[in-house]
């Protein structure tokens, strides 16, 4: 297992290198640059723009620009955001906590809901309750998150007034107090539910189907024949087996937590990495854009690795060498 992981990690290095070339090329292929959006005759004189382009090295040959970027990148210097004019690491670390908060809350909601609904539906398949849950799930799967977001805001923020419609925290509270954390939770709940809708639906269906499938297996019949109580059969024998495929999702969820939610964050004006990513594309903020893409790529690779390793851990039939 260790050997396998190690080999995979080594294999990531050339992969990341290739990704970096693609990311850089794609970014540079986008017409315009971080300066071109700032043109305003009363604010900026052409000389300033020319000077800034020179200073930022936009006039150097492509390969030279690439090697400068990758060289600094490897040394942990991600450059300076052309939009915010501060180091990219600072920009990202300002928003990372918000994204983590949103991602983790959303995943927790997903797991809890999917677990409850899935095990209920799996235990009583083809009943009214199961069909009801199934209906809800397909609804959840088919409603795009921007629609769900707008409706949730309309209903829960504007009409009922239960949740705030924007921001990550109430500015009036003091940092670090209980009140502060409650305010953050209050702000994050609605976007997290909207974000979790889609994955809740698919997780529920996965769990349900697995439970139904397992409940027809021989070991369950044996357990029934022994006179094991029905509750124990479901909660111990079946559930343990049915959760295996779900655990392997964990690797991908890790990526989802960090990469944020472009749409949800924008609709809820929630300053996280997803929103940052979208704005950086719009303003051609290359340094932020490239760093975020590299970060997401790296996490996807790691997530894949974790998923593969977990397969081996939870299911001994799969051998990793």
């Amino acid at each position: 297992m260790l050997k396998y992981s190690f080999r995979r990690i080594l294999g990531m290095i050339p992969m990341l290198f290739l990704i970096s070339i693609v990311v850089f090329t794609l970014a540079k292929l986008m017409p315009g640059d971080g300066i071109s959006g700032e043109i305003d005759p009363r604010n900026t004189d052409p000389q300033y723009i020319a000077e800034m382009r020179e200073k930022l090295g936009y006039n150097d040959p492509m390969p030279q620009q690439y090697f400068r970027w990758i060289d600094n990148f490897v040394q942990g210097d991600f450059g300076k955001s052309t939009r915010f004019k501060i180091p990219v690491a600072d920009v990202i670390s300002e928003r990372l906590p918000n994204t983590l908060m949103l991602g983790i809350t959303s995943i927790l909601i997903t797991y809890i809901l999917a677990f409850i609904m899935g095990s209920y539906a799996g235990r009583k398949p083809y009943t009214f309750g199961d069909n009801f849950i199934g209906g809800l799930n397909y609804l959840g799967l088919s409603i795009p998150s921007f629609i769900a977001g707008v409706f949730a805001i309309y209903l829960f923020s504007f009409t009922l007034g239960w949740f705030p419609s924007n921001g990550s925290v109430d500015i009036g509270v003091t940092d670090g107090t209980l009140e502060y954390w409650l305010s953050r939770l209050h702000h994050v709940l609605l976007p997290a539910i909207v974000l979790g809708l889609l994955s809740t639906a698919s997780y529920t269906q996965f769990l349900r189907n697995d439970i139904i499938e397992n409940s027809r297996k021989d070991f369950v019949r044996t357990a029934r024949a022994k006179g094991t109580p029905e509750r124990k059969i479901y909660n111990v024998h079946i559930l343990r087996n049915s959760i295996i495929p779900l655990i392997t999702f964990l690797g991908f969820d890790l990526v989802a937590i960090i990469s944020g939610a472009i749409i949800t964050e924008t609709i809820f004006t929630y300053p996280g990495l997803g929103q940052l990513f979208l704005q950086s594309v719009g303003t051609r903020d290359y340094p932020v854009l490239m760093t975020l893409t590299m970060l997401f790529s790296f996490l996807t690779l790691i997530g894949n690795l974790i998923a593969d390793v977990l397969y081996g851990v939870v299911d001994p039939r799969i051998r990793l060498d």
Partner: protein, 571 residues
């Protein structure tokens, strides 16, 4: 697993496209409003103290919260609440003494005096040394903001910038309240172009110029002179401000101002719920805002105008050269102007907050020429057709569209910028229809906004005729936009007489300090411009602002809102 990611991708694409279409705005990217007009307009009742005002921004702020470093309109909106300019601009955008007053004999040497007892938020008293500090910072070679142009004209500033001297010769501080600034040359607009925002020296103490942009005093703990002081900043999300009791122009009434970033799609709902008191909004939602009982939808004169430009030449790296023959015939340009029904077009696409404009200067600027002195170019398709016939643009092959005088196929390649705003394509097409109605075949292309001006600069083929807009500041001089050496002169229009008039209007020996004389020259210039018609001025737009009815004492003029110390909330 594959399936799931494909599904995600499909969902994402769908969501993205729909989302982008649903969003509005962005038209005036980079629009900058000059400082406040300072006009008081108290409504009925006596001001009451207290309350919290919630002010919304429609996109996230960069957080460059110091005038010397900021670059965009969003940061500027926050800055206006807590910092001050030393001089002020009136409703015609003329400079007025404010914290600083000045004397000058020759428009070259200026003696400034600042008021005594003006306090910074950190308790320091304002000194001209704070201003001197700002000027030195901007002139520094490590300074990365966009303001050096406003300091360059001071004697010795360029040498200081290039590292040749360690002192700017043209800045002489006599004492804490007096400073003399000498420019390299007498110009009429020296004052308009001068940087007049001071920087607090204590807050920036020990910070090297190259680190200033990321310093606390710019990012998280800005210090200003304005009626409110910043108490807390959540980056990219909100700013909390508190009343500044020692504000030099009188104690403000409202206790707290909270500035929040709210997605434009939410602003109507927030306004309706009373959780938002003040925000600017895109004209496309004006009917929804007007329908709210608790909110006033206010429009006030703006300083931006929109036009259709023709590519008449190219940029040779230093100046414009008129060498493109396609639209060189003035009759063709005139015909295309007569063909446009501007009244109808503006009504249809500017949501009732725009009106046709007849010159490259917004109506509210003090140099604007009155309409009766200018050719009006009223909608007249018959005249347009006649002009085209005269110029030799006739349909020779019978396809219903005119060919050029040589009998070759003639197509107007018209481009318009594209943002998330869905009305842009419709309005570009409507424009094309006007031209097709008089027999000119038109091809419309939409270009992403961020690239639009870049491609114009590079003279892209599809952009022979283009839609554009400018927003002007307090300096009336049109040279940066329409001079023959101006990069922003996208039509690449060169006219010796225009250059002469523009130079004369800035020449101290011709106009002296007589603003009427100067205005006369600008009126002559506008007449010339409208006769030569390098662009077709289309419309000017009013600014739109929503203000909750519980907020009193807010007034607007062409230079923006009045200062927040005059606002109050009905309890």
């Amino acid at each position: 697993m594959k399936k799931r990611s494909m599904l995600w991708l499909a969902a994402l694409m769908l969501v993205l496209s729909a989302f982008l279409a649903a969003c509005s705005g962005g038209e005036k990217a980079g629009t900058k409003k000059e400082e406040n007009g300072g006009k008081s307009g108290e409504t009925a009742g006596k001001p009451q103290d207290g309350g919290t005002l919630v002010y919304a921004l429609d996109s996230s702020f960069k957080g460059l919260l110091n005038y010397s470093f900021y670059g965009d309109a969003v940061d500027d909106e926050i800055l206006q609440l807590f910092d001050e300019n030393l001089i002020d601009y009136d409703a015609q955008l003329k400079a007025q003494p404010y914290i600083a007053s000045w004397k000058t004999e020759d428009n070259k040497v200026f003696d400034f005096e600042i008021k005594k007892g003006v306090k910074w938020h950190n308790g320091d008293e304002l000194s001209v040394k704070d201003w001197e500090f700002a000027l030195y910072t901007i002139a520094d070679k490590d300074y990365e903001g966009p303001r050096f142009d406003n300091v360059r004209n001071i004697v010795g500033a360029q040498d200081f910038h290039d590292g040749k001297t360690d002192k700017i010769e043209g800045i002489k501080v006599t004492d804490d309240y007096h400073v003399q600034i000498t420019f390299d040359k007498a110009r009429v607009n020296n004052l308009d172009n001068l940087w007049t925002y001071p920087m607090n020296r204590t807050a920036f103490k020990g910070v090297a110029v190259k680190d200033m942009m990321s310093a606390e005093a710019v990012r998280t703990k800005p210090v200003g002179l304005g009626p409110y002081k910043v108490t807390k900043i959540v980056p990219g999300e909100s700013v909390e401000m508190e009343r500044f009791n020692d504000y030099f122009a009188g104690k403000p009434h409202i206790d707290k101002i909270v500035v929040k970033v709210i997605d434009p799609s939410l602003s109507v709902g927030e306004l309706k719920n009373g959780t938002l008191d003040m925000t600017s909004f895109h004209p496309s939602i004006i009917d929804q805002v007007k329908a709210l009982d608790n909110v006033n939808a206010i429009t006030y004169p703006g300083v931006s105008y929109y036009y259709v430009g023709f590519r008449l030449g190219t940029w040779d790296g230093e100046k414009n050269v008129m060498n493109e023959p396609k639209y060189a015939d003035k009759k063709l340009r005139e015909a295309m102007f007569y063909a446009i029904n501007r009244e109808e077009w503006v009504k249809a696409f500017f949501f009732g907050v725009g009106k046709p404009v007849n010159r490259p200067i917004p109506t509210n600027h003090w140099i604007a020429a009155p309409n009766d002195q200018l050719e009006q170019y009223k909608y007249n398709p018959k005249k347009a057709k006649e002009l085209l016939d005269e110029a030799g643009y006739k349909d020779v092959n019978g396809d219903g569209f005119r060919e050029d005088p040589n009998g070759k196929e003639f197509v107007v390649n018209f481009s318009h910028y594209a943002t998330q705003n869905p009305t842009f394509e419709a309005r570009a097409k409507a424009m094309a229809q006007y031209w097709e109605a008089v027999g000119l075949k038109t091809k419309v292309s939409m270009v992403d906004f961020n690239l639009y001006y870049d491609q114009l600069e590079k003279a892209d083929k599809s952009m022979e005729v283009f839609f554009g807009g400018w927003s002007t500041g307090s300096d009336p001089d049109p040279t940066p936009l329409w001079g023959s050496k101006a990069l922003w002169n996208y039509p690449r229009w060169v006219n010796d007489e225009s250059d002469k008039l523009l130079d004369e209007a800035l020449d101290i020996n011709v106009v002296g300090t007589d603003t009427n004389k100067r205005k006369d020259l600008y009126i002559q210039w506008q007449k010339l411009f409208m006769k030569d018609l390098p662009i077709l001025p289309i419309a000017e737009l009013e600014e739109t602002m929503a203000v909750s009815k519980r907020v009193q004492g807010v007034t607007f003029d062409v230079s923006g809102k009045n200062r927040p110390n005059e606002w109050w909330i009905k309890q």
